[in-house]
Structures are given as structure tokens and as C-alpha cells.
């Protein structure tokens, strides 16, 4: 069962990465404007 010593930290690291990604997205205002960005594709580049 010594594999536990490797698997548990591994699981924590993976979910920690996901948590980090969520932090990054929130801090970068990825969830701030859920409507406007979809419309931006229709606009001319500028």
C-alpha cells in the first residue's frame, strides 16, 4: 500500500493545479463579462 504515499500527493497536486487555474481565471476577469465577449466577434477589429 506504499503507493498511497505517492498517489495522494499526486491527486492533491492535480486538483491543486485545477484550483490554481480557477484562481488565475477569476483574477484575470475571465468571468466578469459573460455576454459582451461573445458579441465582440461580430465587431470589426480595431
Amino acid at each position: 500500500m506504499e503507493i498511497i504515499f505517492f498517489l495522494v500527493p499526486m491527486a492533491l497536486v492535480f486538483s491543486g493545479v485545477a484550483l490554481g487555474a480557477f484562481f488565475w481565471a477569476t483574477r484575470n476577469q475571465q468571468f466578469d463579462d459573460l455576454e459582451g465577449e461573445a458579441m465582440r466577434v461580430l465587431l470589426e477589429d480595431h
Binding site: F5, F22, G36, H46
Partner: protein, 670 residues
């Protein structure tokens, strides 16, 4: 969506602006300046039709509070989720036996998971408690922070010395559940706020204003009262006004809540935020943008929301919290002879099991559920105490004009040797006028061939004079609600007007009467009009010719016999509304925000009145249910915890069940 493009383009083109980015959801634009001044930016925005408004501090703090809460919840969820598997392993290990190196490893992982949850996610509670104690107050945060820090620190000490129980799982679950409760609460509140912003975005940004040479496009910020504006199918009404020419089909579902198309002809009122479905028309503005009915409603809702928000956690009495602390202390003292560890476990269990305190949430959540339900029916309770007053009301005084009746006058009869000429002359003179009598006259004369009069002059306070075929004509307001017409210095005829009761008035009043509310009409109008309406609606008690002061006195007199509610129009009836136990006003303009009414009916008609009472009873029912749930829970749980039959982990699992039951009871739809 063109607005994003327009603003970014306009600002991006400005010299000294490096970057402009519109945040559509927050109605905000972020600008990076490089030499340009704020004034230039605001002027440019004004040019394309957007006014800059100072960002209210509470608005920004609400935004950052939201994202902060989300992140804290994410960390707590991450911790609690992983902790659950670890804790399960540890507990099973206790029964089945586990090698020491495994259990020690799992304890390390628990510490690792628990620490960020307590220090980061739990920080609002710790800080809140610290702030409260510094000001000598007891808020809900105090027992939470106490339970949390004792659980964590004690476990930490036990972990270091390698013996004694560990409660890392308890602390983690505790924080997670508390945050879920807080998140539900703030999320639901914000949804209501966003609904409002969507309303406001319905008003168009540009309008076609009549100028000397035809119509020109102007930003609505430049519109003034009295401007003539053209509206057409597919567009919105820029500001409240009267339709002058043309026919429209409009959708006023925003204001009335009923999605149906309404026909509007000359003389009809149009409201900002409603949509034109068909037709084209010109309207004369009666209020500038920013002062419309819609803006008034928005202001009201906003202020009521900010008031209800502050109350939810803070206002709860310190008595109950003091009781929790004392009970936990008593448990500690009682169990002390059996050893420090036993005593501390009991004290912790008591602290945790009562914590987020279903009882503390019961009242605020019932208020919040009531206010939300009211709002969805077009009823705005300005403060929570008005919710509790409403079911107690025994007497309801009703104003007549504009509340029981539509407020639109109709021609009743003409008393003259030549009724048709009287009407046609009056219509010719009043052609350009705006007041309700003129509208009624024009409506009545709609089918008749128009006459032409010359030199129409308004004599303020007296009426109009003009020339017709060389003879002087005078149209003036007579006694009571009548209009007289003079031709060549001799009386030609008299017209008198009435207003009709609203179609739904009868059944609404009947429903109220069945609920045991005693009804009476108090009006400033002439006795015969009041009597006619009262008879039509089956109301036995009425009083006419009352001044606002007299209405006020009537309210005071009735209060000897029970709680009195008054339904009136927001401004004229202010004294009576303020004096009543429950003052209800029909929202008619932006000035309502400063009115004296306790409850504002945001939609026309009498149905919201019924809904107001219904909502109040609903809120009271929810309050009783919530109190029952939490009361029963605490009555069972606290003695059990004091008896030492509840471990802290069990407490941490049972506690959320009770408070979630209260939250769910408040949030669920009826």
C-alpha cells in the same frame, strides 16, 4: 452590442488614450490614460451618448466581494472535498487498524489541507469577529471565529505533541458550509440586482428629436421636457411622454408585468423602457431622461436592496450569541472534573452545533424571501418592518383618483342648448393643451369635424380664450370637475367629467374585504364623484372634499381601532401615508423615491395591492417555519452536546443540516 464597439472606437480614437475596454456585464469601461484627461474622456463619452457616472463605492466593493467569496469558496471546497476522503480513511483506520506511518501521513495531509482553508477561506469570519469585539459588539462571527480557532489551534497542538484528538476535518467542513450559506445569500441578492440593470438597459441611447428642419438624432442625454421625439417600431421609448400624433402598439410588460401589446393613440402616456411593437408616432416628453418612472423604480429598488443587505448578518441580537458562548462555557465547566480533553470537546461541540445559527438566519432570510417575492409581483417593501406590519392591518383607506380609478377623465354629460357646438369649440381651443381635462375633451370630440379658432391664449388659472368667426370664445374650469364654454360673452354650455373605476378594482377590494380588512375611500374629489365610484365598487364608507391634512387626521383617528393602511398617490398624500402603519403608494414617477410611502406598488392597477398583503403573509409564514426549524434543532442539539453525546465532527455535520434547511426554506419557491 454596437455600444461596445461605439465606445471603444470613440475612446480609442482619442489622443492620449492607450486602451479602452468595455465591461458589458458591469456597465463599466476601463481606460488606460496616457496624457488625456478624465474630462476629455467623459466629454467624448457624452458625445456618443453615454454619461459617465461616479462608481459608487458599494458597487465596486460588491464586485470584489463577490469574486473574493468565490475564490474562498473554491479553496474551502477543494479542502473539504479532499479532506472527506482522508477523514474516511482515518476513521476506518481506527476501527480496522492502520499502521502508524499511514495514519501519521494522513494527519499530515489533513493539516496541509486544513490550514489554507482556515487561514484564507475562514478569514472573513476571523476578521469579522475581531472587528466586532473591538467595538464591543457580539455578532455571529464571534462564536464562529472562536469555534474555528479553538478547533484548529487545539488540533495543531495535539498534532505537534503526537497525542489527543485531531479536528482538522471538522474545521474544514465548518468553514466550507458557512461559506456555502453566505454564497447562496449573496448570489440570490445579486441576481435581483442584475434584473434591474437589464431593465434600465432597455431605454434607448439615441432619439430622434424634432428640430427646425425635420428630425435629428441626438443622444438621449440632450433631451429636455417638452421636446418632440419620433419613435417607431422596433425601438424603445426614450423618456416618459404623451403621444401627440400617430398610433402605436407598445409592450409595457416591463412596468405592468403583463406581456401584451397595448394600443396607444394621441393623448396616451408612454413610458421609458417600453418597446414599440408597431407603428410610428411623435411624443412630447414629460420628463427628462434620468427622471422617468423607470429611473424612479430603479433608485427605489436599489436603496431598498442596500438596506436589506446590511441587515442580514449584522443586525441579529447579541443575546442569542451570548447564550451560545455561556452554554459552551457552562459545558466546559461542568465536564472539567472529567478531564481537560473531555471538557474542551463538549465546549467545542456546543459552539459548533449552534454556530451558523439557523436561528440567526431565520428572520433575515424570511425578510429576504418576502422582499424578493414582493418585487417579482411589483411590490417593493422599503424596510423589513413593513413586511411584519401588513398582516396586522385592520383598516384600509383608499384614495380615489389615480388609484381606484385610472385617473383618465371621461366626458360625462354636456348641459347646453347646443351640445355639439360646445364640445367642438372646446376641442378647438384645447387642441394644443396637455392637461387631463383637455385630453378628455379631445377624446370625446375625436369623431367630430374640427373647428378652427384663432388667437388662442392661455390665461393661467382661468382657462383659455380665442376667437371663432370674430366672436370671443372662453373655455374655463367651472366649479367642481366641470368646464364651461362661453361664446360672445354668453354661457354656451357646461361639461362635466368623471373618472372610471379600474376594471379589476371590484374583485380586488372584495378579496381584501374577505380577508377581514375594513375599507373606506378618502378623496379630495367632489362628493358626487366619490359616491358614484364608492357605489360602483360596493364600498359603504367614503369621505369627499378632503385636504391632505384631513386625510392625515382620518388616519390618526382610525389608529385607535387597529393598524391602519393607506393607499394613495405618493406625493399629495404624503402626510397620511407617513402617519399610517402601512403607507402604500402607486409609483407614478421618479419622485416616488423621495416619497413617504412604506410600500411602493411598481405596477399600475390594484392587483399589486393584493399582492402586497399576500407577500407579507407569505413572509410571516416563512418566518414561523424558519423559527420552528431552528428552534426544534437547537432544543434537541444543545442538550445533546452538553450531555457529551455529540462529537465535534457530528456537530459540524448536523449544524449545516439545520441552517441549510432554513436557507432552503427561504429560497424555495412557494
Amino acid at each position: 452590442m454596437a455600444c461596445i464597439w461605439l465606445i471603444e472606437k470613440a475612446l480609442g480614437g482619442l489622443r492620449g488614450v492607450t486602451r479602452a475596454r468595455v465591461h458589458f456585464g458591469h456597465r463599466r469601461v476601463d481606460v488606460v490614460l496616457n496624457g488625456a484627461t478624465l474630462t476629455q474622456v467623459l466629454e467624448r463619452l457624452q458625445q456618443v451618448g453615454y454619461g459617465g457616472k461616479p462608481l459608487r463605492p458599494e458597487q465596486r466593493s460588491a464586485e470584489s466581494e463577490d469574486s473574493g467569496l468565490t475564490l474562498k469558496l473554491a479553496v474551502a471546497g477543494f479542502g473539504a472535498g479532499n479532506m472527506m476522503t482522508i477523514a474516511a480513511a482515518l476513521y476506518l483506520g481506527q476501527f480496522e487498524g492502520m499502521e502508524a506511518n499511514f495514519s501519521h501521513f494522513f494527519e499530515w495531509v489533513s493539516l496541509l489541507l486544513c490550514t489554507p482553508v482556515v487561514l484564507y477561506s475562514g478569514r472573513p469570519f476571523l476578521e469579522g469577529a475581531f472587528r466586532a469585539l473591538r467595538f464591543g459588539a457580539l455578532t455571529m462571527d464571534v462564536p464562529i471565529a472562536l469555534g474555528l480557532s479553538v478547533t484548529y489551534l487545539w488540533s495543531l497542538v495535539n498534532f505537534m505533541r503526537g497525542q489527543g484528538p485531531l479536528f482538522f476535518d471538522t474545521a474544514t467542513a465548518f468553514v466550507f458550509v458557512l461559506l456555502v450559506g453566505r454564497y447562496l445569500e449573496s448570489g440570490a441578492q445579486n441576481r435581483a440586482g442584475n434584473l434591474l440593470e437589464n431593465f434600465l438597459s432597455l431605454a434607448p441611447r439615441l432619439a430622434e428629436r424634432r428640430s427646425e428642419d425635420g428630425f435629428e438624432q441626438v443622444p438621449i442625454g440632450e433631451l429636455r421636457v417638452g421636446d418632440l421625439v419620433r419613435v417607431a417600431a422596433g425601438g424603445g421609448i426614450p423618456a416618459d411622454g404623451l403621444l401627440v400624433e400617430g398610433l402605436l402598439e407598445v409592450d409595457e410588460s416591463l412596468l405592468t408585468g403583463e406581456s401584451q401589446s397595448l394600443s396607444k393613440g394621441p393623448g396616451s402616456r408612454l413610458f421609458s423602457g417600453t418597446r414599440v411593437l408597431e407603428g410610428e408616432a411623435v411624443l412630447r416628453l414629460q420628463s427628462a431622461p434620468g427622471e422617468t418612472l423607470l429611473d424612479g423604480i430603479a433608485q427605489l429598488v436599489e436603496s431598498a436592496q442596500s438596506r436589506s443587505k446590511e441587515g442580514v448578518w449584522v443586525r441579529y441580537s447579541g443575546v442569542f450569541i451570548a447564550f451560545i458562548l455561556l452554554a459552551s462555557l457552562a459545558g466546559f465547566w461542568w465536564w472539567l472534573p472529567y478531564g481537560m480533553e473531555r471538557a474542551a470537546t463538549v465546549a467545542l461541540s456546543v459552539l459548533i452545533i449552534t454556530c451558523p445559527c439557523a436561528l440567526g438566519l431565520a428572520a433575515p432570510l424570511a425578510v429576504w424571501a418576502g422582499m424578493r417575492k414582493g418585487l417579482s409581483h411589483g411590490v417593493l417593501f422599503r424596510e423589513s418592518r413593513h413586511l411584519w406590519e401588513a398582516p396586522e392591518v385592520r383598516h384600509l383607506l383608499l384614495d380615489k383618483t389615480g388609484t381606484l380609478t385610472t385617473g383618465d377623465l371621461e366626458l360625462n354629460s354636456i348641459e347646453s342648448a347646443d351640445p355639439e357646438l360646445t364640445l367642438r369649440l372646446a376641442a378647438a381651443c384645447e387642441h394644443e393643451q396637455q392637461h387631463p381635462l383637455a385630453r378628455a375633451i379631445l377624446k370625446a370630440a375625436a369623431g367630430l369635424e374640427p373647428l378652427t379658432v384663432a388667437q388662442v391664449e392661455v390665461e393661467p388659472g382661468r382657462g383659455l380664450k380665442a376667437l371663432w368667426n370674430g366672436q370671443p370664445v372662453r373655455v374655463g374650469k367651472g366649479e367642481k370637475a366641470g368646464v364651461y364654454v362661453e361664446l360672445g360673452g354668453r354661457l354656451l354650455g357646461r361639461m362635466d367629467f368623471t373618472d372610471r373605476p379600474r376594471s379589476e378594482a371590484q374583485w380586488c377590494l372584495q378579496a381584501l374585504r374577505r380577508q377581514g380588512v375594513h375599507l373606506a375611500i378618502v378623496s379630495g374629489d367632489a362628493a358626487e364623484n366619490v359616491e358614484r365610484v364608492a357605489r360602483a365598487l360596493g364600498v359603504d364608507e367614503f369621505a369627499a372634499d378632503l385636504s391632505p391634512q384631513e386625510k392625515h387626521e382620518r388616519v390618526l383617528a382610525l389608529q385607535k381601532y387597529g393598524k391602519v393602511a393607506m393607499l394613495g398617490d405618493g406625493i399629495n398624500d404624503s402626510p397620511a401615508l407617513a402617519a399610517a402603519d402601512l403607507g402604500l403608494a402607486v409609483c407614478q414617477g421618479a419622485d416616488i423615491a423621495h416619497g413617504a410611502a412604506h410600500v411602493v406598488l411598481l405596477r399600475p392597477g390594484l392587483e399589486p395591492l393584493l399582492k402586497a398583503f399576500e407577500t407579507a403573509r407569505f413572509a410571516r409564514r416563512r418566518l414561523r417555519q424558519n423559527l420552528a426549524i431552528s428552534g426544534v434543532y437547537n432544543l434537541i442539539a444543545v442538550p445533546l452536546a452538553l450531555a457529551g453525546w455529540v462529537t465535534p465532527l457530528l456537530a459540524a455535520v448536523a449544524m449545516p443540516l439545520a441552517s441549510l434547511a432554513v436557507v432552503v426554506n427561504a429560497v424555495r419557491r412557494s
